[in-house]
């Protein structure tokens, strides 16, 4: 009995010493990452293999998407900052970190070729690999599918549709950008009217996508990466871009963004990592992944059938700085309206 216990304890101690997944005690870099774990993890692993650096990663969860990690970075900065790099799957919250004075400037050479509108002039953040906000609709059922946002207010459209609550992630960013155009109260009224018209609200983009694939809804308002997954899984669905045509807003394009945190202890490794993530190679990899993220570098190949922003569809102009300034207050207002 004693021998068995001793042997077991020795084995477990040896196991814990041979920690294969890294811990910051020996980590060369700490990354907080909001892009889906299964998309970002391979990229992080490849970077480790190439450079020999050990990364500790804190992944985000869908339920707290972006908001949770960003608030955590802000809170930890006051006490015991841990993260060196923040890889955000959207952009407004990264700007919020800049506004809080938590990011440091770094102009990565890998960012060459990315349009200037997706790069911070001071170098605090860089955008890459975007997604567009789209309508995903079932092709095997008849019924009206929206062409513009205000169609959501029409019961004929709304009764068959769904979107995520604007509490986290790209839906919050999208709703904040729209509220800057329409006004905060008007946006809250818009949501109320849409709900009255019969629009359903789900927890997240992937959730409403799944329910559309299951046949619960005729259409949903989601991101291109979720739509790509639904199509790849063989569901009878297709994509429609909202607000196209003369004088229309255009579809919102939301890039990933990356920034170095100024409280990080591993600034050198952080720069190396940012260079790698912003490379053409990583953008191509994300483009050909299941999520089909849209490359921002010029001339990067895209999978067949993926629409090119600006060419195949009209893109909405967004004042990201204004969105970042408003997103925290808007999140609170939406929270009060939606969490009952």
């Amino acid at each position: 009995m004693r021998n068995a216990l001793a042997a077991l304890l020795t084995c477990l101690f040896a196991l814990s010493c041979s920690d294969s997944t890294g811990s910051s005690s020996s980590a060369d870099l700490v990354v907080y990452c909001s892009l889906d774990q299964d998309l970002s993890e391979g990229i992080l692993n490849d970077f480790e293999q190439r450079t020999g650096l050990k990364i500790e990663t804190q992944f985000d969860v869908e339920r707290n998407k972006t908001v949770g990690l960003v608030n955590r970075i802000i809170t930890e900065a006051k006490n015991n900052p841990r993260a060196d790099v923040y890889w955000n799957n959207e952009i407004a919250h990264t700007l919020r970190l800049k506004n809080e004075g938590l990011t440091s400037a770094y102009k990565s050479p890998s960012a060459q070729g990315i349009p200037a509108s997706f790069i911070d002039p001071e170098g605090h953040w860089t955008g890459f690999a975007a997604r567009a906000r789209v309508i995903l609709y079932r092709t095997d059922r008849k019924g009206p599918v929206p062409n513009k946002l205000d169609d959501f207010l029409d019961p004929a459209y709304a009764a068959g549709g769904a979107m995520a609550q604007p509490l986290t992630g790209t839906t919050l960013t999208n709703a904040t950008a729209l509220s800057l155009i329409r006004g905060n109260q008007q946006m809250l009224d818009w949501f109320e009217q849409a709900e009255k018209a019969g629009l359903s609200f789900g927890s997240g983009n992937a959730d409403v996508m799944r329910r559309t694939c299951n046949g619960d809804f005729l259409w949903c308002f989601t991101d291109t990466d979720d739509a790509a997954k639904a199509i790849a899984a063989g569901n009878p669905v297709a994509v429609r871009y909202l607000e196209q045509g003369d004088g229309s807003l255009g579809a919102m394009l939301i890039p990933n963004s990356i920034s170095i945190l100024n409280s990080g202890k591993n600034q050198g490794a952080a720069k190396q990592f940012v260079d790698y993530v912003l490379s053409v190679e990583v953008e191509r990899r994300l483009a050909f992944s299941v999520s089909q993220q849209i490359p921002l570098h010029e001339g990067v190949a895209m999978p067949e059938g993926v629409a090119v922003p600006g060419t195949d569809y009209q893109v909405m102009d967004v004042d990201w700085a204004a969105v970042a300034g408003a997103i925290s207050d808007r999140a609170t207002a939406f929270q009060e309206a939606f969490v009952k």
Binding site: S16, S20, S24, D36, D38, E56, N64, G202
Partner: protein
């Protein structure tokens, strides 16, 4: 504290157990005490909205516990007290549903029936936690005195059944109480059913919501009302447990299972098969089917997709599985040492001290796991604790602290049946404390010790809520599963779930195998 002969040599070990438990189980709970010095927290804690959520969580958990009893009680009675073809197999499979991650069961039943909402949540909890009353009922009926059973049979079979019901009522209620505790603190299952159907919230989700605004102290203190409700249930359970510790229904031999005769030989296995189908077979079959499920336009076959999903599950998920097994294994090993010490200490205490120790020991089990995560971050994310905070020792300690009561209760039951005189004789013969504890108190029951550690490992491996928050546990298999489920990687999720379940079943199967070898010897 009343101490028997030899308690002096035990004190250093008991102190060690208390110190380790203090770090593992009680330090993360300290932020919960903040309302005692900040009364404004109390006033915001229970406004109309949160009270509504708390009430909803309470009745959802109560109905879940009742359903667990309704399924677990008859299952245990049938396979413990009747002999028919396959009864042994049904007994063997009884604890397994408890080891399946509730989120996976939820996913399976949604896939099977399309059920969503509060009723689906209650059903899932009931199914997941039915083994708790079943195991306790089986234990008490396994020890029913042959004399009392046979006397009851002489009066009438109906009276014999009534006597079984009477004997197993308390264990069924205790199991239901534990089912309530687990259901009340679970955030992931209601959240899943809210995402696939109409939105609704429970109190645990309210606590989890604090991770969004990173006010972890508010998150920890928000769990206080749930802890108080849990404490009430525990106090009720403690009374019942006390009456069950070392329970023997009369002296002499135990009643043997009755041979099922006539139609009962066919009906009883069918009944149990139906219950097992609900508890285990249907969810696993559905999840297996989902490993290869595709939309109608897909050109790939089910087997191609399923194979690819399992491959991905192994290649992408291997590191998370290794990490999970590392910290869960370490937690199990800690409990191998801590649980006997705690069980022994509790046995040697007077009633009042004993109740206090049991309550303190159970506190981490009453706190929703996500609040335990908040507390750990608040207490351990300090510059001078960086290495410890990021190492897998932290999740291992937390798991050990949280599930230690389960291991202690298993051993307490076994150890209470060993006469004190045996241990005292060993001491007079010059045996050290550890020799007395492991050789004389536990010597004949090592399989119970392994079972206790195995259960801690299994519960630790499926632990999700605090793993989402803690950096050292963030790359666990449960978090990967949760993320993939919400990111709609359905085939991968199903395959990974099957792999995870196979790993969780291993300790219990190993225990069953161990037992069978011992009986052969």
């Amino acid at each position: 504290m009343s101490l028997v002969l030899g308690a002096r040599s035990a004190r250093p070990w008991w102190s060690l157990a208390i110190v380790v438990t203090f770090v593992a189980a009680w330090i993360p709970l300290l932020p919960l005490l903040e309302p005692l010095i900040r009364f404004d927290r109390l006033s915001t804690m229970l406004d109309a909205r949160t009270s509504g959520l708390l009430w909803r969580s309470t009745w959802i958990s109560t109905l879940s516990a009742l359903l667990a009893i309704a399924i677990g009680w008859p299952y245990a009675m049938l396979c413990t007290r009747w002999r028919f073809p396959g009864a042994g197999l049904f007994r063997l499979l009884m604890p397994l549903p408890l080891l399946m991650p509730p989120l996976m069961v939820a996913q399976a039943w949604f896939g099977l029936t399309g059920m969503t909402g509060i009723s689906a949540t209650i059903f899932t909890f009931g199914v997941c936690y039915a083994p708790l009353p079943a195991l306790l009922v089986a234990r008490s009926l396994g020890k029913q005195s042959a004399a009392s059973f046979e006397s009851a049979m002489l009066i009438s079979p109906r009276f014999a059944i009534l006597s079984m019901l009477r004997i197993s009522l308390l264990p069924a209620l205790i199991g239901g109480g534990f089912a309530f505790l687990f259901a009340a603190g679970d955030f992931a299952v209601p959240d899943y059913f809210a995402t696939v159907g109409d939105l609704f919230h429970v109190y645990a989700a309210e606590i989890f919501g604090h991770s969004r605004n990173a006010d972890f102290t508010a998150g920890a203190t928000a769990s206080l009302p749930l802890v108080l409700i849990g404490l009430l249930v525990l106090l009720g359970n403690a009374r019942l447990l006390k009456s069950q510790l070392g329970y023997e229904s009369g002296l002499g031999r135990h009643a043997c299972p009755t041979n099922a005769k006539g139609a009962a030989q066919a009906i009883l296995p069918l009944l149990l098969l139906a219950l097992l189908a609900v508890l285990l077979i249907a969810p696993i079959a559905q999840i297996f089917f989902e490993t290869g499920k595709q939309g109608p336009l897909s050109e790939r076959t089910w087997s191609d997709v399923s194979r690819a999903a399992f491959q991905q599950g192994i290649t992408d998920g291997r590191s998370s599985l290794v990490r999970t097994m590392q910290f869960a294994g370490l937690a199990g090993a800690l409990c191998l040492l801590l649980a006997p010490l705690w069980a022994h200490l509790i046995l040697h205490c007077r009633n009042r001290w004993r109740s206090l120790l049991v309550i303190l020991l159970c506190l981490p089990l009453l706190v929703p796991s996500v609040a335990l995560g908040f507390g750990s971050i608040l207490m351990f994310n300090q510059p001078w604790l960086d290495q410890f905070y990021s190492s897998l020792f932290l999740p291992a300690l937390l798991i050990a602290g949280r599930f230690l009561p389960i291991a202690v209760f298993i051993l307490l039951d076994i150890m209470s049946r060993v006469p004190d005189a045996q241990e005292e004789t060993a001491e007079l013969a010059g045996c050290s404390y550890l020799q007395r504890l492991f050789r004389y108190r536990l010597g004949g029951h090592t399989s119970a010790l392994w079972l206790a550690a195995g259960l801690v490992i299994a519960f630790g491996a499926r632990e999700l809520d605090f793993a989402i928050l803690l950096p050292a546990a963030n790359s666990s298999a449960a978090v990967r599963y949760y993320n993939a489920l919400h990111f709609a990687r359905d085939n991968f999720v199903a395959a990974y779930g099957i792999i995870l379940v196979a790993l969780l079943f291993l300790p219990v199967m190993f225990h069953a195998w161990w037992q069978s070898i011992r009986f052969k010897d």
